[in-house]
């Protein structure tokens, strides 16, 4: 069972005890509202911190230190959940019982050093480090275009929520990096440490009490303000005429993405029904999109739907030949109408249900997915385990699924086409 407690002011630990794994898993998350002014700066900070601490001043010495800890890994973590940005670190390491010397406590002590005692020059982050990580982050922002599948999905959301917090990309935009200096970033970092709620996730063989004790010690110096910056996600906007956007790039395969808003989020009692309906519509090999748009009509290599549970956005992504973009759109919408009308076979419903329930049970064996799920539940301010969700999905009727998917309203259509030579 999970166990969430406040171990220091505004610092919460969710600990899942399990002796199934050789790997221990830990994440440290600072919670911030998604804001244009700080999204890029927040995303930059973990990368700057991983460039050097007081005792390990550069990448080579940090890597050497991690090699000595049996190849433990510490990576930057920048997540976007609804209108909340979570920035920090994750760690994977061999659990103590499998090797000759302790690993967990030294890894946590090192993580705390990276977080709290960065290498400084003249009272700020080293300028060369900040400049180089700014460049890396900018490249990461620009490189979104390299993978056309995820690019099309992110362009859809940017179009759909332009000017709103939800439309801000996970790591911010290149423009917002320009004014960041070593000094301004260091000031922001101090503020981030003091004013952010902190959520920690642990999964491994130690008891929550033992983990708490280690973390209370290593994080004792974390500065804490009187109040913490509130975070949350606003409901989907009201209906409006459908937006259409077409972009042209020199690509060989076209992409078509459709974005739908709904007033259903994971807090809504209809959520399990919508998850099931969305899976019937476009999740996996038995979905209507896969069996009709891909298999029967050979229209695309992929066509799938995914539901974002914080804001209530359903996105359909597909890869299609340019000449078939319009046909594919018509067919995708036709399949959605079938779902809305309750035109769902028992096989389709039960396959989707079986797939979802099995997937949730399998996820309970995955430290990464548990971390992600619990962080989501914390942001939604609800308890519920994956097992609870699985049993709710087990009870959904066909009518409830059809009713839930009727809440979808098409908002934006994004197409990526080739250039005419």
């Amino acid at each position: 069972m999970n166990h969430r407690t406040e171990i220091l002011p505004g610092v919460y630990l969710t600990a899942v005890q399990s002796d199934k794994f050789k790997t221990g898993c830990f994440s440290l998350n600072l919670l911030r509202p998604m804001k244009k002014e700080e999204a890029a700066a927040n995303a930059l900070i973990p990368s700057v911190l991983l460039r050097g601490s007081e005792t390990c001043p550069d990448i080579a010495s940090i890597s050497a230190k991690l090699d000595e800890l049996y190849g433990a890994s510490v990576g930057t973590l920048v997540r976007k959940k609804g209108e909340v940005q979570l920035v920090g670190f994750y760690c994977d390491y061999v659990q103590d019982e499998y090797v000759d010397e302790p690993v967990f406590a030294p890894v946590m002590a090192f993580l705390a050093e990276l977080l709290l005692h960065p290498r400084l020059e003249n009272g700020a982050f080293p300028e060369a480090v900040v400049d180089s990580e700014k460049l890396n982050l900018e490249n990461a922002m620009l490189s979104r275009i390299n993978d056309k599948r995820t690019y099309a999905a992110s362009q859809l959301i940017r179009t759909m929520c332009a000017g709103q917090p939800y439309g801000i990309p996970r790591i911010g935009e290149p423009d917002d990096l320009k004014n960041i200096t070593a000094k301004s970033l260091y000031a922001h970092y101090r503020d981030l440490l003091a004013t952010s709620r902190v959520e920690l996730f642990y999964m491994g063989s130690l008891s929550p009490a033992a983990v708490t004790k280690v973390l209370q010690t290593v994080l004792a110096e974390l500065p804490r303000a009187e109040v913490f910056v509130p975070v949350g996600t606003t409901p989907a906007p009201a209906a409006r005429p459908v937006q259409e956007k077409t972009e042209r790039l020199d690509v060989t395969q076209g992409k078509l993405s459709l974005g739908f808003f709904t007033d259903i989020t994971a807090k809504d009692p209809r959520y399990p029904a919508l998850v099931l309906a969305a899976t019937v519509f476009g999740g996996g090999a038995t979905s209507k999109l896969f069996t009709n748009v891909r298999e029967k009509m050979s229209l695309c290599y992929y066509a799938s739907a995914s539901f974002e549970k914080f804001k209530g956005v359903l996105s359909v992504s597909s890869g299609v030949e340019f000449s078939k973009l319009e046909t594919a759109k018509t067919e995708i919408l036709r399949q959605l109408e079938a779902c809305k009308a309750g035109d769902i076979t028992d096989d389709e419903l039960e396959s989707a249900r079986g797939y979802l329930v099995s997937d949730l049970k399998i996820a309970m064996d995955s430290p990464g997915r548990l971390d992600d799920y619990y962080m989501g539940q914390i942001l939604l301010e609800q308890d519920g385990t994956m097992e609870d969700l699985a049993s709710a999905i087990t009870r959904v009727t066909k009518q409830e699924a059809a009713d839930a998917i009727q809440a979808l309203r098409l908002d934006t259509i994004y197409a990526l086409e080739g250039v005419t030579v």
């Binding site: 199934k20 050789k22 790997t23 190849g71 180089s132 890396n136 490189s143 079986g354 797939y355």
Partner: protein
């Protein structure tokens, strides 16, 4: 059924070779909800040319991958629909050297495993369904064509190897798949999907004896065909092209540098070479090296940079890849670093530390059912026991690493592939 124990890893498995030649391995993992079954054929995209019962066949590029798509067809319908009845999440992949099919589930392993065995051992190909798949695969090929990550490696292999079939893309080309018919698929299925060329691995909270019994009951007798693979003629000493560039719609130039290494053979020696190659790469330009630090500090490389030793039947390379504005400088610097290391000798303490790191990382990987199955099968096809790696790794010395660097990290064995962003036309 025999039990093999690997006390250093805290792991064991049960194994049986069935009379039809099929090898079945089961790792019992009590307490996990997930049950995972994996069937692999020792057959990949590089096996397009072969001798079967004394006769030579040259099959079109991309046939292994096409076959993977069509294996889901059964006389009673599509295997995916069958899996769906039992909530089996299934998929498949084709690599240069392996084709694998797998299913994961919580309940109904028995039913899902049966479907998996049935689909892999049933070659059911109709002209109509083979024809219909062509459009889907062509779209998949086009998707890879738009991916810089795929293109940079494919181009590297193309200039490094004039004859070895790794120079052809795994999925083939839109043109080459035009030549694939139901007969081609049947020929390749008969040759390479005989039980004697397959391995089955099951991991999870399962009973080994009943899994093995099920495999015995559900797999055909098999014909144990005699085939011989062709890996192309030996590579020429002199190579005309050492660099290749291509423009694509990307933001940052991507690169891959390859140092051509000799074929590492098979079995334990090849596995040992995997660690030697990995250690050499780490020492020269791994994250804890001085060179990595310098290039990172000067923004020549970023966190996506990686160095790996990769090999398959008939080829091996040390491969450096990532995003960079100046890949030629990386090549120059790594050659200079190799010269420096050979001058001063490999740092023994560093080697010990890197081995400690690799020990921990390999142990952690054992948590992943997919990766463990994959590595077990890949090494089995290679004639090695994957779980013997602790002993094999322990035998790697600083001299081995020095020899690897001396023989391979040389200008005359270096190749460079670059993808640059398309310039805006005025």
């Amino acid at each position: 059924m025999i039990r093999k124990d690997f006390p250093k890893l805290g792991e064991h498995y049960f194994e049986e070779r069935l009379p039809n030649g099929l090898l079945v391995r089961v790792m019992e993992k009590p307490g996990f909800a997930k049950r995972y079954a994996f069937v692999a054929a020792d057959y990949g995209s590089i096996d397009a040319e072969f001798f079967l019962n004394g006769k030579k066949y040259v099959t079109p590029q991309g046939v292994a991958h096409y076959l993977e798509h069509k294996m889901f067809d059964l006389p009673e319908g599509n295997a995916m629909q069958e899996f769906a009845k039992y909530a089996g999440a299934n998929n498949a992949f084709t690599s240069y050297t392996m084709t694998a099919y797998y299913v994961e589930c919580t309940e109904h392993l028995e039913e899902n495993f049966e479907i998996l065995l049935r689909m892999v051992t049933t070659g059911y190909f109709t002209d109509e369904s083979v024809q219909k798949e062509r459009g889907i695969i062509a779209q998949e090929i086009k998707m890879y064509e738009d991916s810089a990550d795929s293109a940079v490696m494919e181009n590297l292999f193309r200039i490094m190897y004039q004859n070895h079939p790794v120079r052809n893309n795994i999925a083939g080309t839109v043109e080459s798949i035009e030549e694939i018919t139901a007969d081609t698929l049947k020929l390749c299925h008969d040759a390479f999907y005989d039980p004697s060329n397959l391995i089955v691995c099951v991991i999870g909270d399962v009973d080994a004896a009943s899994i093995i019994e099920q495999a015995r009951r559900l797999t055909p007798a098999g014909k144990k065909p005699q085939f011989e693979r062709c890996c192309g003629a030996p590579e020429p000493e002199k190579v005309p092209v050492r660099t290749i560039e291509k423009q694509m719609e990307i933001a940052m130039p991507a690169f891959a540098i390859g140092f051509r290494c000799p074929d590492a053979g098979r079995g334990a020696d090849a596995m040992r070479m995997d660690l030697i190659g990995e250690m050499a790469g780490e020492m020269l330009i791994g994250e804890s090296s001085k060179l990595y630090q310098k290039l990172y500090d000067e923004n020549v490389i970023d966190a996506d940079f990686s160095v790996d030793y990769e090999r398959m039947r008939g080829m091996a390379l040390l491969e450096l890849s990532g995003d960079s504005e100046d890949p030629r400088r990386i090549l120059r610097e790594v050659l200079a670093e190799a010269a420096r290391v050979l001058e001063t000798g490999v740092d023994r303490a560093l080697l010990a530390r890197l081995k400690k790191s690799v020990t921990g990382r390999r142990l952690r990987e054992l948590d992943g059912f997919e990766g463990t199955c994959y590595r077990m099968c890949a090494y089995y096809f290679d004639g090695a026991e994957y779980f013997d790696y602790p002993e094999i790794y322990a035998s790697v010395t600083a001299e081995d690493v020095e020899q690897f660097i001396r023989e391979n990290v040389k200008e005359e064995q270096a190749f460079l592939s670059v993808i640059t962003p398309k310039r805006e036309e005025e």
